[in-house]
């Protein structure tokens, strides 16, 4: 299959390309950019007039719900959602049932994803067995099976001795730990940012210091053990400040923020809107601004979707009983673009946060367009306005705090390995 993408505006932040260029694809690879290779005859031509041609997006945190929570979503539905959102590579969290703590489970997941063939799936293995925070998993075997890093998902390691050992062991092999920093005790039973809004609504709060405390201990241990740490989903101004300082000191740390947290605050909980029940919680305006600024100055390296499909029943409950999380794969692009436009940044700036930067954190090849690389490509109209409705979303999870709101930027085509995996209906 040979595809010719013509008349598109190619933007590839990694190679600093922003030009009107045609792209030529053969046998799943990019074989030409700009100039047509000799004796290239396209089987299919995609007219990308008015569209931006970008590397397929790379997401650092998706929950695919399989195995164990198929009532909320399945691999098939969520990989369709990835394709619809222009996401061609994604890291999935180990908090499935059973937990991704055995090589066989990882192999099964990789195999299933390959069969479905709508996105590259990169599992994050469990750092401890059953995510229990006590016993290390077989990290080498899990890596052989396909894990690209290790994570505790939303469970903390409260025992600092274990965390220290986990860091040392991972550092032995050069593995990256993906940790969401939250002090388990300060966060206990909390469902919202500890502030004026939670106090008024009578919701148990999680102080921003819960993030700060955990980051401080993780970074200190990372520094001592020389471990690569990726901090997942920062939520607070103090978290951003700690990461900024750590980077200045040369600690090997990277960080991401969820697309939701760039735009929402605890005020958006409104009258107990369970779609705004997220982990970490939405925090104050000041925190939101610090996250946006941290993303701009490079303290935060990437934006993730924090995709968490939740079935309707689990959201139709009082706020604190509802399951946390938002469906996000299909909103990653428009929310990243919205951040860039609010801060007078370019489309290229937005794309770098969802292409090569997360790819570098995962240590994978995707996230750029160059001759010889896999043809994982997203084509989108940056000016198209669309409204987030349940029927618009391919994900089985219709849960998002952005329901009913307008988004700017819509994916028209997604290509994986040179195959069209998504095409918008007009």
């Amino acid at each position: 299959m040979k595809i010719h993408i013509k008349n598109g505006q190619v933007i590839d932040p990694k190679n600093n390309i922003n030009a009107k260029q045609d792209i030529f694809i053969a046998a799943g690879k990019i074989v030409g950019m700009g100039n047509k290779p000799a004796d290239f005859t396209a089987n299919q031509t995609i007219d990308a007039t008015g569209l931006i041609v970008s590397p397929g997006f790379v997401d650092l945190s998706s929950r695919l719900r399989e195995p164990g929570s198929e009532y909320s979503a399945t691999l098939v539905t969520e990989l369709h959602a990835a394709a619809a959102g222009g996401v061609t590579s994604l890291a999935c969290t180990p908090d499935t049932q059973p937990v991704l703590d055995e090589p066989g489970l990882v192999e099964m997941l990789k195999y299933r994803a390959k069969q479905i063939n709508l996105a590259h799936v990169y599992p994050l293995g469990a750092l401890t067995r059953q995510l229990n925070g006590k016993l290390l998993t077989e990290m080498c075997k899990l890596t052989e099976a396909g894990c690209v890093g290790f994570s505790q998902a939303d469970s903390a390691i409260t025992d600092t001795q274990v965390l220290w050992r986990a860091c040392e062991y991972a550092a032995t092999f050069g593995y990256t730990l993906f940790l969401r920093a939250e002090d388990e005790y300060l966060a206990k039973n909390g469902v919202a940012h500890d502030g004026e809004i939670a106090s008024r609504l009578g919701l148990k709060g999680i102080p921003a210091a819960a993030e700060g405390l955990a980051i401080a201990s993780i970074l200190r241990i990372a520094q001592e053990t020389n471990t690569k740490i990726h901090l997942c989903r920062l939520s607070s101004a103090e978290g951003v400040a700690l990461v900024r300082d750590a980077k200045k000191q040369g600690i090997q740390v990277t960080a991401d923020v969820s697309a939701q947290h760039l735009h929402l605050t605890d005020f958006d909980i409104g009258y107990f809107n369970t779609h705004a029940n997220l982990k970490p919680p939405l925090r104050s305006q000041r925190d939101k601004e610090a996250l946006c600024a941290g993303l701009k100055d490079g303290t935060i390296d990437a934006v993730c979707s924090d995709h968490t499909p939740v079935n309707d029943d689990a959201k139709l409950l009082p706020f604190a009983e509802a399951e946390a999380g938002a469906s996000g794969l299909e909103l990653l692009l428009p929310l990243a673009l919205k951040w860039a436009s609010h801060h007078k940044l370019s489309v290229m700036d937005a794309l770098s946060k969802i292409t090569h930067q997360p790819a570098a954190i995962l240590g994978i090849a995707g996230g750029n367009l160059s001759i010889g690389s896999d043809a994982d490509i997203a084509l989108f109209d940056p000016e198209q306005i669309w409204t987030v409705t349940p029927s618009q979303l391919s994900s089985q999870g219709k849960n998002t705090p952005f329901l009913g709101l307008e988004m700017l930027g819509k994916v028209h085509y997604t290509l994986l390995h040179g195959q069209i995996t998504y095409q918008a209906s007009h």
């Binding site: 004026e196 939670a198 106090s199 009578g202 919701l203 009258y271 107990f272 139709l316 409950l317 009082p318």
Partner: protein
């Protein structure tokens, strides 16, 4: 701004929280309650305002006192009353809140009185009932207990009619108290110029001062020259642990005694939403003393709940 408690004409549709309700509505409820105070003193303690209507008390969290006063209030308005202690029935069989509510809607109830241990449960139910059903929040988690807040200000108004010239102190566990939140909103909405909260830091929520109150950590300083003292209940399970070291120490530092009461104005009134922990938050001699209005609170509670039901039921007395 959209307010789920009001209909398009600005009339009360549900009573979920005092927060955000205009003063006009609070006064309408209090004035209506005045007309019901006399009903209890008649030989026939009934008015026909809700005749033919069905009021359903759905208590996901156990309560005797509140449920009983709602029941009496509904019966005095001639409504049929259905009591459901869900805490002990369907929920334990795994039925969701909405399933329970849907079943009651199918039985053609007209009004739901709801208590639940989770903040926001009443809002949640109100969002899912059809237009012709009103929801009254009888307490949701730590969030709100609006009829308690209303009966408290009703009681204050009866003893201290000039609300614009009052100093009110709330003492105790504000952090876990839906009553405190509703009282604060009711008092500030009605124009009480000075509302104080007095508690150790462990029992105050973050940012409480943003709700328009002054914070005191010393009971003596906080009680100085106040007109009204509203004591809050301290739950047994919070008396010793990480919040407080012991009930004895709490009584020593934040318990209301005759001696401390003397710091308030000589004609100050003492209130408590009940049930009281004598010797923990309040000394018996104060609870039963001449300045206590704790039992009148209960009596007025019925009139206030009748007023809320009458207004929601359309029979604006």
């Amino acid at each position: 701004m959209y307010n789920p408690q009001l209909d398009a004409d600005g009339n009360l549709k549900h009573l979920l929280t005092i927060e955000g309700l205009p003063k006009r509505i609070l006064n309408q409820i209090l004035d209506t309650a005045e007309t019901f105070v006399g009903v209890a003193e008649r030989d026939i303690k009934k008015v026909p305002l809700l005749r033919g209507k069905t009021v359903c008390n759905i208590f996901f969290e156990n309560s005797t006192r509140t449920r009983t006063t709602f029941e009496i209030a509904a019966k005095r308005l001639s409504a049929d009353v259905l009591n459901l202690n869900v805490g002990t029935s369907s929920q334990s069989k795994g039925e969701t809140i909405l399933d329970t509510v849907d079943n009651l809607i199918a039985m053609h109830a007209d009004m739901f009185v709801v208590r639940h241990s989770q903040s926001g449960a009443a809002h949640f139910i109100a969002q899912h009932v059809p237009d012709n059903i009103s929801v009254i929040n009888a307490g949701d988690g730590r969030h709100a207990h609006p009829t308690q807040g209303l009966l408290d200000v009703f009681t204050i108004r009866r003893y201290k009619p000039d609300m614009h010239n009052l100093r009110v102190a709330l003492v105790g566990d504000v952090l876990h108290s839906r009553v405190a939140r509703s009282e604060i909103h009711a008092l500030t909405t009605l124009g009480v110029p000075e509302v104080r909260v007095i508690a150790p830091k462990t029992l105050l929520p973050t940012g409480i001062e943003k709700m328009g109150v002054q914070v005191f950590h010393d009971l003596r300083a906080g009680l100085k020259d106040v007109d009204v003292i509203m004591m809050l209940r301290l739950q047994n399970e919070r008396m010793s642990g990480a919040m407080l070291p012991s009930a004895q120490e709490y009584f020593k530092t934040f318990g209301l005694t005759q001696e401390k009461l003397k710091l308030a104005k000589p004609d100050a009134i003492v209130m408590h939403p009940g049930p009281m922990n004598r010797g923990v938050e309040i000394d018996s001699s104060v609870a039963d003393g001449s300045q206590s209005v704790i039992l009148p609170q209960v009596t007025y509670g019925i009139a206030v709940r009748m007023a809320v039901m009458a207004i929601l039921g359309g029979g604006n007395a």
